[in-house]
Amino acid sequence: MPRGYLIPLISVAYLALLFGIAYVGDKRADSQRSIIANPYIYTLSIAVYCTAWTYYGSVGRAASTGVGFLPIYIGPTLMASLWWLVLRKIIRIAKTQRITSIADFIGSRYGKSAVIAGLVTVIAVIGIMPYISLQLKAVSTSYLVLINYPDVTIPHYRDIRFWADNAFYVALVLATFAILFGTRHIDATERHEGMVAAIAFESLFKLIAFLAVGIFVTYGLFDGFQGLFREAAAVPELSALMTMDAVPGGYGGWFSLTFLAMMAILFLPRQFQVTVVENVDEAHVRKAVWLLPLYLLVINLFVLPIAFGGRMTFPAGSVDPDTFMLTIPLASGQTALAVLGFLGGLSAATGMVIVATIALSTMVCNDLVMPALLRVEALALHRREDLTGLLLGIRRGTIIVVVLLGYLYFRLIGESYTLVSIGLLSFSAAAQFAPAILFGIYWKGATRAGASTGLSAGFLVWGYTLLMPSLAQSGWLPQSWLDQGPLGIELLRPYELFGLHGLDHITHSLFWSMLANIGGLAAVSIVTHQSAIERVQAALFVDVFREEGRPRETHLWGGTTTVGELKALAARFLGEAGASRAFSGFVPAGDVDLTEAAADPRLVNFTERLLSGVIGAASARVMVASVVKGEALSIEGVMEILDETSQVMQYSRRLEQKSAQLEAATTELRDANRRLQELDKMKDEFVSTVSHELRTPLTSIRAFSEILLRSPDIESSRRQEFVEIIVGETERLTRLINDLLDTAKIESAAVEWHKERYDLRRVIDASVNSVRALYGENRVDIDVQLPPEPAMVEIDRDRLLQVVLNLLSNAAKFCEPGEGRVVLVLTRQEGEVQVSVADNGPGIDPEQKDAIFEKFHQAAQDGHKRPAGTGLGLAISRQIILHHGGRIWVESEPGHGATFCFVLPAADA
């Protein structure tokens, strides 16, 4: 049978079919009729997790360890149930930040750091290299098995030159394929719908092929599950595989593999690519959460039967268990089934290599090569017109380099390791990303320094405890290096670091690397500080679900640039047409004027995000910074979004303050208004009172004058009486006008005050002397009680005299003649001098106490007797006392007299 020609032909036909699917997928995507936008295609694309390792390696491992292969699938099952919480958050972050790869994600989280993104890329490339070599080994071995059967001995690779090695050609074909799939054009979203469609098809195909072989072995060769296991139980070596005792590393090893697989399903670069970057709708996660575990369960159902079937079919050691998938059908004469099995393995391997290399090429291009090139001034990339060609070139070159690195590793260690051991190397490398990502999306305090410390420490430990020993075991490093430790230092033996023994290699490495990684991340984060942009990014990542409902646009660009410059920048990476399309698509998003010369900060942000999709966050920032002049990051912009809560709280506090101020102002205004109204009313009353007060004497003056004028023959005694009345009334008028002028002057502060230090006792003596006549006339007693020592005050003597006179004459006025008694007391208190004038008159109503100090207010008197005053005396007194910094008030109980008091500040030296 010419299998030597047929197999390559069928393989190429299969790859052509894949390419056709990818082509249709891309075309449908261009016309907005996506065929991958459903949870089933999404789940199948995540099943790229099942590689040739699953396909061939699981059987091989099951044949020697029983259920030892299972943690690799139980881990993802457990992790999947957390996807709704963790993966959804990562997807949301990736979409808002336009993340293009796992390196981009970690770099963005830690302040768009190019260094961290580059570090992640290096780890990914070195870590994934064994994994790719695993696929090459599987495809090349399965091909050889198929064409050479029944001669199943695999030639030693060291003996053949690479040009005679079919694995080399497998590598080249896979690289070409990945280039055709993943780098046909540069896209701002960095999504590859065609590739996802092809991957989903491959997942379906490998599942069907595996089930076909499994069903054939279980039901064709043996009597179903029960029959097969019954027969196996009779073989002592096989029945020993039926308990956990067969699992290498025991329960500890079992647990660490579970943990590794939990991390790998999310953080292997290719898994990140299909689950996060290629995700169309985060709602698809909801179904994938249980569909993916179901897929894993189904594809593993027949692993044990095939493994046991193979061990029972072939004599011990004659056939590599890793090839049972092909050798059992071949041994049974089922060539077609074997070819189907081979194609299933091919699809598993190609799927992995395509996605992994595309993911790695994006990372290498965006996070390693471009940032480096952009910094090399001599290349002047800032000014190059069109960079799309360069980008594609870098990516294509990367794919070839990555695949060839895998081939190199395969040539170096290919034979000494089983498929699974090689795969676990890569899993352990991918697990190093877990702390930086998980801490990064749940703990704002994780810093750039912490992340780079953790990543590098974990990676170094991984390299020392797993990668280098793998090279040593293949003879590329001296075996003594492993056994006695480097330079004979036993404590540093890579498999028993610091004397830790009793663990299998994977668990041992996992423990030390995670200790270094998590420890480094946490410890350094705690002692270092974040820069402004780190804090911004940390908040955006951790609070991604809280972002909703408020504008995401944060004005991180403080400088200025023009729309034209931004557009030209975008065109260099997206092409002229792509840039125009993107920019015109931006207009409806806001009221940003694209014709305006100076670019709106939102447009700058938009351009940065647009470029992030093509060249990664770190490079995009460098590029945008090259056209934005001025400060790159305004501190106000940073503070604005630093902490939503505190910002809102601050804002509401400011609002509260404002409203309190407004309220206070309103109250003041209202008071002032009321006061104004009162004053207005008082003014009206004042005018009407003054008119009244003026008219009364005027009326009587006029009446008597007219009588005198018209009656010249009036008796002279009557005439005398009338003239006296006229003179009296005129005096009263004069007094009134003087008082009015006084009040007005005091109120308008037009009075000149002649203040000097004075003994108040002398003022009181003077006042009492001048009222003695009045008191004698009214038959009122006066009792003056003065202290022996002087009571010094700073006063205008004449004005104060006026006050005391006013109080004394008021007191006399209200006393009944003959019974009246007025007591004047001068006392000294703390820094004050008090004068009180008490009478035993009728007293004052409580509600009148304040009113009597108003102008023209005169206490109502019993009977018709009108007090002989102007009604201004107390008002003037109050003005004078207030002006001297004192107070004046009245104490009274109706029927028991009234006491008028005033105090003045003492002026003792």
């Binding site: 029983g66 259920v67 299972l70 139980i74 099952t77 457990l78 999947a80 149930s81 957390l82 709704w84 919480l85 599950f225 029960q226 296991f229 019954r230 139980a233 029945s239 039926m242 308990t243 956990m244 005792d245 329960y251 079992w254 647990f255 579970t258 709602a283 909801r286 179904k287 959460v289 249980w290 575990p293 179901l294 369960l297 159902l301 044990l304």
Partner: protein
């Protein structure tokens, strides 16, 4: 009514139970070679437990889907008013 937080709690509880059952010491109780229903007990335990776990997640997520749809309907209904 089940809210988003309850779903989160259920998922976390499920993972906890899952990790507990497929590890030492519970796993060691079932680490026996003798067949149950013709299948070695270890294998049967792991695969049946695995299937039950998938069914449980399916139920929790199915309810979450219903809830999201109901909320969506309510929102649509409100916006139509």
């Amino acid at each position: 009514m089940v809210d988003g937080k309850a779903v989160r709690d259920r998922l976390i509880a499920l993972v906890g139970i899952g990790i507990l059952f497929v590890n030492y010491p519970l796993l060691s109780l079932f680490s026996r070679g003798e067949p149950v229903l013709g299948i070695p007990m270890t294998y049967l335990y792991l695969f049946v437990g695995w299937a039950l776990f998938i069914v449980s997640i399916g139920i929790v997520m199915g309810r979450e889907g219903l809830r999201i749809r109901r909320e969506g309907d309510r929102r649509d209904g409100n916006s139509g008013e």
